[in-house]
């Protein structure tokens, strides 16, 4: 689904601040950026290469984006999609953002106005230790035990 609020805000911010170091995967967004490099969809390998090369990630508050940033130890600034703006089916990203905020490397902008404010300080965001690439040992153990008992 489109997320034009995110794409257009970042595009305008890049223009106003002369940033030429922004790359965007815009998915199905309808707004076409004119001040940043962008593509609709990156293959996973390329997506990970971009994540690895990035200093900071700006994304919707999807668990895929956030967990990948944590795996890379990169700081991430997220803005939740809203159902009433037809950016998603329900407001689960609001709760996701609220929960992942406890990670030092995850910053949240609740709307596009706050996104502008937080983008101003984006170079000050700091990453953290990379998280493990796999699930918690408790969950892995529970699933393993179930599989073994099948």
């Amino acid at each position: 689904m489109p997320f034009d609020r995110l794409v257009s805000t970042v595009d305008r911010w890049a223009k106003e601040n002369g940033r030429d170091d922004v790359f965007a995967q815009i998915g199905q967004s309808e707004y076409q950026p004119s001040n940043i490099q962008w593509t609709n969809f990156l293959e996973p390998e390329e997506f990970k290469r971009k994540y690895g090369a990035a200093k900071v990630i700006v994304a919707h508050a999807g668990t895929g984006s956030i967990i990948t940033a944590l795996q890379f130890g990169k700081p991430i600034l997220v803005i939740p999609r809203r159902a009433n703006l037809r950016e998603t089916r329900n407001d689960h990203q609001v709760a996701t953002a609220e929960q992942f905020r406890r990670f030092d490397s995850v910053a949240v902008a609740w709307d596009e106005r706050e996104l502008v404010t937080k983008l101003a300080g984006i170079d000050n965001l700091r990453g953290s230790q990379r998280i493990e690439s796999h699930a918690s040992s408790g969950l892995v153990k529970a699933i393993r035990e179930f599989i073994d008992g099948c």
Binding site: E43, T63, L70, R89, A95, T96, A135, K141, A142
Partner: protein, 164 residues
């Protein structure tokens, strides 16, 4: 050890090795599914997901693509159901596991129908309530999990940890 036991061992040369079909839709669902990989070590895993581009992350595992479905594109459901049934009949897994969303729900419903064991792990994105698929799958999941302790209930879903 007597002869009979040795014969038995020859048949079950890899005791406990199971075939697992792991199903998810895209984005976070897929990222979460891949993070469960250590739970499958020593078993055979087959993946089914909605984007062929994810194949590179499945390693050497067999990989199928299915059409993504949601509550809002019912006209596609039959295609996904047929493909999932085909995969189940061809692979004959011992177990189907999913992190959602609707394609995963379908895979577990079909699996139960074929007498296959099922695991549902509701996405970590669902903090305040289970996903709709996650709520509806309860009756059909042999292991029904949430990643949030506050959503766990005595009869399930249960909380056993998270993908983080």
């Amino acid at each position: 050890m007597n002869g009979e036991a040795r014969e038995g061992a020859a048949v079950d040369i890899i005791p406990g090795k199971k075939k697992i079909l792991a199903v998810s839709s895209g984005g976070g669902h897929w990222v979460e599914l891949i993070r469960l990989s250590p739970a499958f070590e020593g078993h055979v895993v087959v993946f089914a997901t909605v984007d062929k581009a994810y194949r590179s992350e499945a390693g050497s595992a067999r990989f199928y693509t299915i059409l993504d479905v949601t509550r809002w594109n019912k006209f596609r459901w039959s295609q996904t159901l047929v493909k999932l049934a085909y995969i189940l009949l061809r692979e004959k897994p011992d177990l189907v596991i999913s992190t959602g969303a609707l394609p995963g729900y379908f895979s577990l419903r079909l699996a139960k129908w074929f007498g296959i064991k099922t695991i549902w792990i509701d996405s970590i994105a669902n903090v305040e309530e289970l996903s709709l698929s996650g709520q509806m799958i309860g009756k059909y999941a042999d292991l029904w999990l949430t990643q949030w302790p506050q959503l766990a209930k005595p009869g399930g879903p249960f909380y056993r940890g998270t993908v983080l």
